[in-house]
Amino acid sequence: MTERTYHKVGRRPWELRGTPDGAAERARARVPGARRHWLKWRDVHNPKTLRRERILADKKPLWWTIGLSALAVTTPFLPNSLISVVSIFCIYAAINVLWTLIVGTAGIFSLATLAVVGVSGYVAAAANVYLGVPWPFMLLIGPAVGFVFGAILAAPSTRLDGLYYALLTMGVAEICRVFVMQLKALTQTGGAITQVDSFIPEDWFLQRPGLLLGFAGAFALLLGALLVWRLVNSERLGLLLRVARTSREDEAFAEAVGIDFRRARLWVFVISSAALGVVGAFYAMYYRSISPQIFSLDQLLLLFAMMVIGGLGRAEGAVVGAAIVVLIDKGLPELGPIRIIIVAAIMIGVTIFAREGLTGARDQFRDFRKRKAGERRALRTEKGGEAMPEEATEVHDKQELYYRRFNKRLRDRLKGLITPELIEEHRRDPLGRHSDALGRVLNYFRRGEMADKYIIHRMEPAVEKFRIMAVSGVRGMPPRVVDDREYDDIREAYHAVFLLRVNDLLES
């Protein structure tokens, strides 16, 4: 036997925890207009001390607040060029968050996101430039167009699946681009609508106050997108879809349990599209123009890179991905075309090393640590043998630890009793008057724990035909069949069980 090393275990808590007083009255405030609380405080009993501790069970709101406040507070102190980078980040992050709703929550793989933004932006800009609609109304026209365009795009989404739908939506984007490029009225500007009125006064445009106002607007836009994400995802629609998520492949099942799964998906799509329409209108105002570039494939792929890097299906992924890509693409122009290579390299790196983007890295790390711990434990302890201190921390009933030690040593002694003569003694008479050695071995077998304990199944009523099964140890969970051998004498079946158990014993 190898020498064991015993490492001391035990950790200090790193997290600040409250020490609530149960007798004190606690008034829990809610988010106005909602049933939810501001923060998910939970009391737990610390299993080490049994004392009550209050923890923040969901720390995401905390991280969001810290991150977004830092952005809002530091941006005004940045140089002009960086302010516009941050603003662009906010716009892209907003688009990404909304796209996440479509891809993640609704499960519709649409690549027409920028097309929706563009079409809404174009219509809103056109209304402003050609019809003289004042700019605040653009923020209504945009979503209206987004809503209608979204509804049109949504229609085929339940008919076509996956890749085909993605191709279709990419085609739609391309059609938009070609259409705009070929519009006679816009040939002078290369398809762009310029001179769009904006919430940024004309004389502030590209000046510091204008940039700051632009940032304020973009930041508000991002907050709005996050609010939409939050509302859709945690209200009825999102909950419905979350219930159905396990059965995405099986809409019939979801419908059978009373979830109108398609409808919920379409609603999420349309709501997100309307929100993207707002982004479109904002986009046209922010740049005071809109160009066919918005429909281009490279923009779409940049957006895609953000999603992949950040992690699909999470709002924080959409935002983190946007931050990284925008910082490289727009923040480091001096690098030239190499920027795109860097983005691609990061994208490939993340795809290779992270399962679910950068924001999934934490869970991935935890899984990794767990797997490593499992491997290390497997190296340090024998199967069914003594538990090491690390493993003991996870065993609630400490008596189990002694049972393991005891049974391990008992097994080692019993192994020495297994001889061909002993097996022959059992074969001759499984229910007989047994030697002391066989009695000890049998008693050990019979006292074994319930999970996976062998039993014999009489396969037909009143017929001597048997097979061996093992019980689950869980009430209501049926036993499993151990192998396909059948026995027509109960004594043979008893002996077969004995041999299986001897085998288990010798292997342990």
Binding site: E25, R26, R28, R433, E449, M450, Y494
Partner: protein, 766 residues
């Protein structure tokens, strides 16, 4: 084609010829079954015996029956009918209850409320899946709730309360720890803080569905099954109630101190209604509207309450400390199925075990019923041990009990039916099983399908018949040997007392008369003192203090405690039967060891092999030598048998003067050579030391004894479960049968028994 599944039960399980019997059948995969009545002649298919035999009985029953799927409500709860909707509250209110949750967390549980799960309407106090106390209300659209921040600790008493004021929407949830040194699973040294007090403004006002108020469950409904109860609660609930206003902190503190609220709308005082003879199934509301709560699936009364202090270990000493009612999500005391067919056996029908045999495709089920004659017709009565049948009904030992294989020294042999019952988990537990929270099962009923009273059934644990299917071997032999007999049951004896026995010259016990009520002991004793003759032909008899519930004889109650071969152990203070007020446990602990009545009492059990009896010197005394006419002086008696190949095995009883065996008892024979898988039973062990198994301890044996009582009465006892199952071997002609014939021939005759003249002083030259 889908699989057809048939299940059924008879109510009552035993009846006199001429009285109607309802059969409830549930069928899946078919709308129609073929039906006939069969007489069950022999059960086990062991080739050493006569095999499985049934006879079709001509009846006027329709040969086909329309059947449907019938649903079973599992889980115990209490229902407050509340026809006037007084608990459909629109004003401010407070609900409160002392609770001892045994399994908080996992699935949602409802403690009490008027809540419709399906409609999301009403209000309820319960435990959320996180294991925290929660109060929720719903208007049919939205459910809103307030949750306590302290997690509930399993098996620790707290006072739970929630108040709600619709005017402001303010809800207050309070959880007040009332743990003391005695009442909870763990003691005050654990630094848990059990208190919580959360205030929150809810956005919803309750709407009310047309449903009852429930304790320990909530109303649920679906189109297929109709109304039922779900989100069942596991654990104990003590005094609870509703007050039609929001109680203040001081008022709650007063309740936590033990004083009931001053102006309750309802107050379910679970301590109300105790008598010296126990307590019934209805929880009394002492409030102004008398909204009593009726127990469904028999919530367990007389449990130690939130204020229990250990000194008074019975509710009869201090009912105020026994307010707890235990609820279990897997309790079942009545399937409540609608009758499929009724059958009235004709008055001239031979007494016996019959069954409604229903067949559809490959599926067949035999639903047994024991028919007693309309009046005593034979000289011999066989007392079918219906209490024992219920005690073991649908036992799960092979699947659930870790030590079962070690006790029986077998690998279980399960049948397809076992798999089916195990998978369904629908037809309840036996008194050998535990509820899902680990508490022992103290109630069992015949109002449910019972797999192990089917005629060909073998107990999975040891691959031979047990109880009713085993007892058919005795009936087959009596018929084979030409003895007329009437069947009576434990329930008959319990209900009628001595009158059930007096018509008979002799009464035979079956293989395992383990569960006995006081009335049954008294009747047997009076029968013997009055000249009756008892043939005790079983093992481990007259053992557990058992009672049939006075309000529902289909249901028996037993509490296992202190000593004995007990599948579970009642919690301290919970050893008295709620149905009669008696202390349960072993009869020997209450001064009525079975030895005092039939000379023998339980001494060992084992299930690897059975052995023969060997004559003891007393068997040559002329008082009893006639019993052995036709048997050699050193002949082994019963070295064969359907149960493990011997007449002495499975469970064995012993002669013991110290335990009250009558001093004039003759020890006729004893079994020999038991293995160490027959250890001495725990009630015989005061100090534990090695060597208490069959190869080393002389107390591990089965005895055969005889003694006479007044007025030509007598007891013959062969203390072994295997005895009757040896009878069918060798075509029914064997030396166990010879002993039986010699005895029966003598016992059915009036007047002095053979050998009774040999009372002289012994003066022997040899």
């Amino acid at each position: 084609m889908t699989d057809i599944r048939l299940f059924g039960y008879a109510d009552p399980l035993s009846a006199r010829a001429g009285q109607p019997i309802d059969f409830m059948v549930s069928a899946e995969g078919t709308k129609e079954v073929k039906a006939e009545i069969v007489r069950l002649v022999h059960g086990d298919f062991n080739p050493e015996g006569p095999g499985f035999i049934e006879e079709t009985v001509a009846t006027d029953l329709s040969p086909t029956l329309a059947v449907k799927r019938q649903y079973t409500q599992n889980g115990s709860f209490a229902r407050v009918a509340d026809p006037d909707g007084r608990l459909a509250l629109d004003g401010p209110f407070t609900v409160h209850a002392f609770i001892w949750p045994s399994m908080p967390g996992g699935a949602r549980q409802t403690i009490l409320g008027r809540w419709s799960v399906k409609e999301g309407k009403g209000y309820a106090l319960g435990i959320n899946p996180e294991g925290k106390l929660e109060f929720w209300i719903g208007d049919g659209e939205t459910v809103d709730q307030v949750t306590a921040d302290a997690p509930l600790v399993p098996k620790v008493w707290v006072l739970a309360s929630a108040s709600f004021d619709p005017a402001t929407g303010e809800a207050r949830l309070r959880q007040i720890g009332v743990q003391n040194s005695w009442n909870s699973h763990i003691g005050p040294v654990t630094p848990f803080d059990h208190d919580a007090h959360v205030k929150e403004v809810l956005r919803v006002r309750p709407a009310h569905a047309d449903i009852p108020f429930l304790i320990a469950g909530a109303h649920e409904e679906n189109p297929e099954r109709g109304r039922f109860v779900s989100t069942l609660y596991n654990g104990k609930i003590d005094r609870s109630g509703v007050v039609a206003r929001a109680l203040s902190a001081d008022e709650m503190a007063a309740i936590a101190d033990g004083s009931p609220p001053a102006d309750p709308l309802t107050y379910w005082d679970t301590t109300e209604g105790f008598t010296d003879r126990g307590i019934g199934n209805v929880i009394t509301d002492t409030g102004p509207h008398a909204l009593h709560a009726e127990g469904v699936n028999r919530p367990i009364r007389a449990m130690s309450g939130w204020n229990w202090r250990g000194r008074d270990d019975s509710f009869r000493l201090n009912p105020s400390q026994y307010g707890a009612v235990a609820f279990h999500d897997d309790a079942l005391t009545d399937c409540g199925w609608s009758p499929t067919v009724a059958w009235t056996p004709p008055t001239d029908l031979k007494s016996g075990v019959y069954a409604l045999k229903v067949t559809a495709g490959d599926a067949v089920d035999r639903i047994p019923v024991i028919i007693r004659p309309d009046r005593a017709r034979a000289k011999i009565a066989v007392q079918m041990s219906t209490f024992t049948y219920l005690a073991y009904a649908n036992e799960h030992l092979s699947f659930d009990a870790q030590i079962a294989q070690a006790i029986v020294a077998h690998t279980p042999v399960i049948s397809g039916d076992d798999l089916e019952y195990q998978k369904l988990q629908e037809f309840g537990l036996s008194t050998y099983d535990h509820h899902s929270d680990g508490a022992g099962v103290c109630y069992s009923t015949w109002k449910r399908p019972i797999i192990n009273i089917r005629p060909g059934y073998r107990m999975a644990g040891m691959n031979f018949p047990w109880a009713l299917p085993a007892d058919l071997s005795l009936l087959w032999w009596l018929e084979h040997a030409g003895y007329d007999y009437d069947l009576i049951t434990d329930h008959d004896l319990d209900r009628e007392g001595l009158a059930a026995l007096t018509p008979y010259k002799t009464v035979l016990n079956v293989t395992h008369p383990e569960y006995y009520s006081e009335g049954m002991l008294d009747a047997t004793e009076q029968y013997l003192t009055g000249g009756g003759r008892v043939m005790y032909l079983g093992g481990n008899g007259y053992y557990w203090v058992t009672a049939a519930c006075p309000d529902d004889p289909a249901c028996i109650e037993v509490r296992k405690l202190d000593v004995g071969s007990r599948a579970w152990q009642a919690e301290p203070g919970e050893g008295y039967l709620a149905s009669t007020g008696e202390r349960s446990g072993l009869w020997r602990s209450r001064g009525r060891a079975p030895q005092k009545l039939v000379g023998l009492g339980f001494t060992a059990e084992g299930m690897d092999r059975a052995e023969p009896f060997e004559r003891m010197p007393d068997s040559f005394h002329k008082r009893v030598a006639w019993i052995f006419d036709g048997i050699g002086e050193e002949e082994l008696i019963g070295d064969f048998g359907l149960a493990l190949g011997g007449a002495a095995g499975v469970e064995l009883d012993r002669y013991d003067l110290a335990l009250g065996t009558p001093p004039h008892t003759l020890l006729l024979a004893s079994s020999i050579d038991h293995t160490d898988n027959y250890p001495l039973v725990s009630e015989e062990i005061s100090y534990a030391f090695p060597g208490r198994g069959g190869t080393q301890d002389p107390q591990v044996r089965g005895d055969m004894i005889y003694f006479t009582t007044a007025n030509h009465g007598a007891v013959f006892a062969a203390g072994s479960i295997s005895w009757s199952q040896a009878l069918p071997c060798k075509g029914g002609e064997n030396n166990v049968g010879t002993v039986m014939r010699n005895l029966l021939d003598a016992f059915v005759k009036d007047g002095a028994l053979p050998g009774s003249a040999y009372t002289g002083e012994e003066k022997h030259w040899r």
